[in-house]
């Protein structure tokens, strides 16, 4: 017959593991459906594509004769400035925090630079980050430059704040 203390210790160890495992199982029961559900409705990739297009559409010039907009073209490199990206978004008072860093031939332009510099090191864990490169035709220089669009934003779940 086993020692009474040994039986007690065995029971304590058993229940400690049992209760811990029960906690894990309860957590998984709660978390797995929610995770699957939220992943099915996640649209970050699409949001990124739409917002990146919006930035790219600002890199354009308008023909004075036809009033046609030539998207993805700049008459000269010096036409590149922060005003272009600032005219693409108005996030004042919006719960969705959004920032961009655009780099064209070494020249940088930011939308909400303070948020970008705070959030970029914390992506992709706390914030979402997407980087995309697109061609820009510089008319004066007759060459194709590469525009790097780096987007960092705080995901907002439907119905909730960040």
């Amino acid at each position: 017959m086993r020692n009474r203390k040994a039986v007690l210790a065995e029971g304590v160890i058993f229940w400690m593991i049992y209760i811990a495992m029960t906690g894990v199982v309860i957590f998984l029961i709660r978390a797995i459906p929610s995770t699957v559900y939220s992943q099915a409705t996640e649209t970050f990739g699409m949001e990124n594509a739409v917002l990146t297009d919006r930035v790219y559409n600002e890199v354009a010039w308008e023909s004075p004769l036809t009033q046609r907009e030539y998207i993805g073209e700049l008459p000269k490199l010096s036409d590149w400035d922060t005003k272009r990206i600032n005219s693409a978004f108005d996030t004042l008072g919006a719960p969705r925090q959004l920032s961009f860093k655009l780099t064209l031939e070494g020249k940088e332009a930011y939308y909400d630079e303070a948020f970008y510099k705070r959030a970029k090191p914390l992506s992709p864990v706390r914030y979402k980050s997407f980087v995309e490169k697109r061609p820009v035709w510089i008319v004066e220089d007759k060459k194709i430059a590469t525009l790097e669009i780096d987007q960092v934003f705080a995901p907002v779940p439907p119905g909730g704040m960040v």
Binding site: I32, V50, Q67, I71, F89, D90, A94, V156, P158, G159
Partner: protein, 304 residues
């Protein structure tokens, strides 16, 4: 004391039994969860609160000049369980199931400077609410397709607010009579520009006009402004008398490059305006006269 065989049975059956119970609980929870999604409007509200702001973001991503008409109608089928209420505010869209839903879901879009997004609320009552988005110039209007408040005409173009500096008037006492007869209406206006217009009864292209402002600095912009106002007035005039306009356009032209036009007086850069309708205007009194009057209003608008 258990026998050796009994302890092995216990060792196998006991965990199996507990695992089965745990899986049963998980299964029941999943079934309850799925049932909840199906029974309540939560999933649909989340879908709408994601999809509608994405559509608005896409509309706002368009190059600024242009008209767009987007009917958001996934509810056309009977797949959606509820008639939803919508609140469109700055940078957010609130979805509610019915008129008094306390569990509203909010989705977010991002505004664009220079584009005014109309704030609007639609409360679900009887008919299904179908959001309708209309981008016209610098305005994004939101309406309910099943109960329209905003009269949209896709042929109305956003005009610049450039003011025509010179005098611009319909000259000649018999100008209106010429219009009624379908003759060419060529007017030199105060030394600041010229235009030639013809309303053509019995033809499909009902208005054809050349505008040629004589301001050297922004000749084309001035011409375009007049053409735009006249085109919009003509489109409204045709709409009033129930004639559909298939399309209207003003095209910059330079007679030096295009050769002779049917308006020889046009010198330098100008704009050609054409309004096309599949219907032929064959009644002078009920069709051509109202159109001529509308065009006259357009000329006045260009001056203001």
């Amino acid at each position: 004391m258990f026998s050796k065989k009994a302890s092995w049975v216990g060792l196998v059956l006991h965990p199996l039994f507990e695992t089965a119970i745990a899986l049963g609980i998980v299964l029941l929870y999943l079934l309850w969860f799925i049932h909840g999604i199906g029974e309540t409007a939560t999933y649909e509200k989340r879908f709408l609160s994601t999809d509608i702001p994405l559509l608005m973001d896409s509309i706002l991503a368009m190059p600024q000049k242009g008209n767009l008409y987007a009917l958001y109608n996934p509810q056309r089928s009977t797949d959606f369980s509820t008639n939803y209420s919508f609140s469109f505010l700055k940078n957010q869209v609130i979805i509610m199931a019915g008129p008094t839903d306390k569990k509203q879901v909010t989705g977010y879009y991002t505004s664009k400077p220079g584009i005014y997004v109309q704030e609007k609320q639609f409360i679900a009552k009887d008919a299904m609410i179908v959001p309708l988005f209309i981008l016209q110039g610098n305005d994004l209007w939101i309406d309910n397709a099943n109960k329209r408040e905003f009269a949209y005409n896709r042929n109305i173009m956003p005009c610049s607010d450039l003011r025509f500096p010179g005098t611009l008037s319909i000259q000649g006492e018999n100008a209106a009579a010429q219009l009624l007869l379908g003759q060419r209406w060529a007017v030199k206006s105060g030394g600041s520009g010229a235009f030639s217009m013809q309303i053509k009864p019995g033809q499909e292209t009902v208005v054809k006009a050349y505008f040629n402002a004589e301001q050297p600095a922004d000749q084309l912009a001035q011409s375009r402004r007049i053409a735009c106002e006249v085109a919009n007035a003509a489109v409204r005039g045709l709409d009033k008398i129930g004639i559909d306009v298939a399309g209207s356009a003003f095209i910059p032209i330079n007679p030096k490059h295009t050769g002779s036009t049917d308006d020889d007086f046009l010198q330098g850069l100008g704009v050609l305006l054409e309004i096309y309708t599949p219907e032929k205007l064959d009644n002078v009194q009920t069709q051509v006269t109202p159109l001529a009057l509308a065009v006259g209003e357009g000329v006045q608008n260009a001056k203001s």
